[in-house]
Symmetry: D2
Subunit: 378 residues, 4 copies
């Protein structure tokens, strides 16, 4: 693992997600830019001294020298955005599959370099767009893309948060600091942090790519360097209209990512606040409440294989995250054993990452051009 020292939020989540299914064991790490802090974190995690590294460069190069079976099997990157590309590329070049936090990196240029490394190496690469790991999101995607609800006509995705309603980056809050700093987060603030998730969800569930955006990026809190509230009109492939709303200044909101997709004879609605429920809307018939559960045999296989317990036992964020790790692990095993990976066990990949970065560019460009329609380049 690269990153995830104490004080980090997402590193601990990655570790819990990786552990949950008993398929992955943390064997080494470079947890911080500070060697002392890295050592401290590694010790807390019960790692042997010689597998706690001062730098990620050390970790990759030294692990690569271990024998197969002794060395790490894959690399997890949980650093801020500006520290994704270099370690990802080096890991891939040394033969390690990579699972990386989102967004992919700082710029489309970096994104293409990572893509190049993935393609050259042929190794599995995963991007942790967590929300796609929920069983009910899998079910939603299945119902929409199978055509059960008719051709898609409208997509609405919202991701409201309130935690940046005050200027936390001035108060030493580490999460706020890097996420609102263009050097570490990239060109986009709220859009980069959560808008990228929202766009990914909209595409994943609808099965349609966004081909044009018209955005309005706002810096609502005075003095903030990046957008903290962004809305966009969208056009999906086939001319389907959509709307994306993300905000980190919606005071009192937590993390209620919500996606609605409508076809000609019905629609779906999913919200992370009620994560195990998928509301299926039916034109001319009662709406239905689909629920996570290994015993809910009415669910599609894609939903069933991403549940762990019978219905009524809530599966949450960590389980969704773990589904990405589990599926990625299966892909890594398949890769090393030369077998093929079952596509039902899907996860966001390098193309999702590159397209996501192209959307960041398009969103920013649209806003700069005075809210004009702009197409992502990938």
């Amino acid at each position: 693992m690269i990153g995830g020292g104490s004080g980090a939020f997402i590193g601990a989540v990655h570790r819990m997600a990786a552990r949950l299914d008993g398929q992955i064991e943390l064997v080494c790490g470079a947890f911080s830019s500070s060697p002392e802090k890295s050592k401290e974190t590694g010790q807390e995690l019960y790692l042997p001294e010689d597998r706690i590294y001062d730098t990620w460069e050390d970790m990759i190069s030294q692990e690569a020298e271990h024998n197969e079976g002794d060395r790490m099997d894959l690399v997890s990157i949980v650093t801020p955005n500006h520290l994704h590309a270099a370690p990802a590329i080096m890991a891939l070049e040394h033969g390690f599959p990579v699972i990386c936090d989102k967004p992919l990196c700082l710029s489309i240029a970096e994104a293409l370099e990572i893509k190049d490394a993935v393609e050259k190496s042929g190794l599995p690469f995963a991007l942790t767009h967590t929300y796609t790991g929920y069983p009910m999101v899998k079910q939603a995607r299945h119902m929409i893309t199978s055509g059960e609800l008719g051709p898609v006509r409208k997509v609405v995705v919202e991701y409201p948060q309130g935690w940046l309603t005050e200027k936390l980056e001035d108060e030493g809050q580490k999460q706020a600091a890097w996420r609102s700093d263009p050097a570490k987060a990239g060109k986009a603030g709220a859009y980069g942090d959560i808008g990228t998730h929202a766009a990914n969800m909209a595409e994943y569930v609808s099965g349609l790519q966004i081909i044009k955006v018209l955005s309005q990026m706002s810096k609502v809190v005075e003095g903030r360097l990046l957008d903290d509230d962004t809305s966009a009109l969208l056009e999906f492939k086939g001319g389907v209209p959509g709307v994306l709303i993300c905000s980190q200044v919606s005071a009192g909101e937590e993390n209620a990512v919500r996606v609605k997709v409508y076809g000609t004879n019905g629609g779906i609605e999913w919200c992370q606040e009620d994560e195990n429920t998928l509301l299926v809307k039916r034109h001319g018939a009662p709406n239905q409440v689909y629920r996570t559960g290994v015993d809910n045999s009415y669910l599609a296989e894609a939903a069933l294989v991403h549940a762990r317990v019978p219905s009524g036992h809530p599966e949450g964020y960590i389980e969704a995250f773990a589904n990405i790790y589990r599926n990625f692990t299966m892909a890594v095993r398949a890769y090393f054993s030369g077998s093929s990976h079952n596509p039902t066990y899907d996860f966001p990949n390098i193309d999702d990452g590159v397209h996501g970065m192209a959307l960041v560019d398009a969103i920013v460009e649209s806003s700069i051009k005075g809210n004009a329609w702009t197409s992502p380049k990938y």
Copy 2:
């Protein structure tokens, strides 16, 4: 009453709303462009023969000749949009206060003529933007405009419906037919029918006028003459960003108008599907659930006086509608008695109507100009 013959939806609602509080009695009507149908409706409503008129012109002119006390006290207009302006103006010119269904009329030109008639006559005029009549919407407006939740930073309003997912206007459905016909509905379809409600709600609750719009109007169902799905980026007075989404092709949706307004330290969310609840969001504190009820003494006066029963006894759409009628009746009484009307008993007025028509124009113009920012002219 003008309009509201059998087969009409909103006429019956107006009559129930008018009756509810026992302050208004239906005394006469011209219920249809067909004299036979008008007569039939009048008889069903237990009206005496001589107060059922063949035309609205007859009704206004003949009622005006009755003695005070014998003639009607006010006129309710519940016809399709193209038949609002002429009867409203004639009624006002004959000394009758007018309560009119929304949107105000067909065009800004007509709107200004009505405004002129209102001003010349000095008579009360109400526009039935129903949703502003809900007690919890009054509470929301109070909490936002009093500054309790801080200066407004973001407004999101949605109005999804699914009933036009098929091309009902080709199947003889009367409601669909006129609402999708530019000659009767005006320049806008979904926006005119429900987007005007949504815009009015956003302004009413936030206390801020919309000063710029950037819209995307879609005719999702092939062959439809007017938009059936419209989204718009908004700018409110003071630069506050917002989003408006309305749709009549969101299959499986009913009528879930929802408004969210965020200030610096909290926000409100109200949705008609849970009409007696106002969710009050608090930054750094638990969210709160405000509820309709004459006994909920924590509510603002504006909410309390628009409730009829103790908490836990749901008050619905007809009660909200009746609040507009009740308040308008109070204003009419105040007018005729020369006293002043208590502004807590508010209702949408002619200025709301004119501004609403200006927004229709701006929305349409923005879309035609390729989704460019456009300001309403009033």
Copy 3:
């Protein structure tokens, strides 16, 4: 109308309910035991002086002397429980149909006298168990009694309120005073006031009578004369088990009557806090959300004819109440015209009232006997 002077809660509700559909006009009243207060109320309601009576005895005897067409058509009784029997009987004896607030009266003896008067007169009689008037409650009853969800196996009904968590009867609160006074309310407090509603709902939706009860009546607030919290185990016809819980000391609760009935392959759940939704539970399939609306053609006729507006426009407590008045009015018209009344337009009748009083007796007796199973006598 008998009762319903100013300060009363339910009288005003009856009047709104009676007015809503334009089928009933208030023509006379004895609104209070104080003639002055009765006159005042009558004037506020725009009644002519000579139709405002000092006593209900005067009203009944004098109205009976008017010619048909001039006299009142029916009597509405909205007084506290101890003033139901005498006016109901006198009205019936003078040829007036009666609609009476619940519970029927003070005792089973009184109940049987009223029943006797109903049977002798042959006149329509209605009891306002409001909750049975909701369209979704009609739908629930239809789905259960039609056998669509299989034979009934379990019934749970709850009615929590919090308004008597303090001893309001000592603070001059009029509603609390009579409802906690055995001389005016009868043998039961919370059970009499709201438990009777809950029992009626359980029987109405399940289509099964309660044949045995085992109750635990508590006087939670010190010094209270009647129960303020009652729970009971139930046995329905056919041996079906059930539970009834009612409380007026559940601090923070409003009026959330909730009924759940389970059959062999599914169940229903309805709660007044989400009055336009019926949750239909399906074994082995997604649950469904049935919704009120004249346009929801999947609903049973019994639900459709009790809705007034299209789906998504909430219909509340007053509309449910108005359904009882509307149906009773139809029965009265049928009676006077000698035609038969369509049973789809049902309403609680004298037998429901007598059985309800028998259940009050059984609940009280069970509690007194140390929580032993007790059968209602009717």
Copy 4:
């Protein structure tokens, strides 16, 4: 681990819960009464051959012979109820702390033997009443027992399931088979399986013990050997009334354990279907929505330390389960290091288990005696 071979439900849950926080590693197991199946499961779990045992007796005796540091640190028992007591006692006698699935065992006699072994050994012992591990359940307990909502007046707990609406035990469903077999489950079916959870929740949140019960146990499905639907009136210490309802034949229900506790000035409501929300009811003030989250600083410490991620990232059943494992691990560490365990990190213990078995006896006895009040003996 003892039990938890393939086909088992709860064993896999225990393993995920144990893994989640990286404090526990599975080192050995006797996973089935069939040595072959045990071996198979152990191999799937990547255990070395010599730590997979044929029987639990072998596991305990052989592990006890390993050196400290090499042997297992604690034993997890996840077998059906009839196989709890013997391994628990043997493990304790060999110096191993025990974490055991609920209910504690088959009978009060067995329960007291286990208690004896716990007391003699002085070792930590945990019982996995999962629901007490949810952060919002901790918050509820804190708010009630701190007196913030006033002295407790009423408790209602429900646990409806629908999975036994058909006679699954006849269809070879393994879970149904042992849970409805008195030899393996004990005297109570639905009550033993889920009613014990419900009773524990009611006591945990209210902070009050149940001192009397009056139960109605039903075998709703013909031919079933144990109750599949049980309701009970309760009396808590201090005379507080309560109701418990559990059912496994409520068709269409999942696992919606719900607890409501009311004090004099408010109450709490928690339901596992919305596991990260605690509804706090306030008399005379808006209700509040408390939410799980390490950043929700308004929460009590007891809730905060049982959350893992910021608010809005749902934590589910496995996380609640993991809280019990985490806390038990802390107690084990404290025990072996001779330090004291921080009581904020609580978990259900042997006394909860013994009391729970006494309640099983009381519930069964009450039902047999014709639904008479019965007191648990411990």
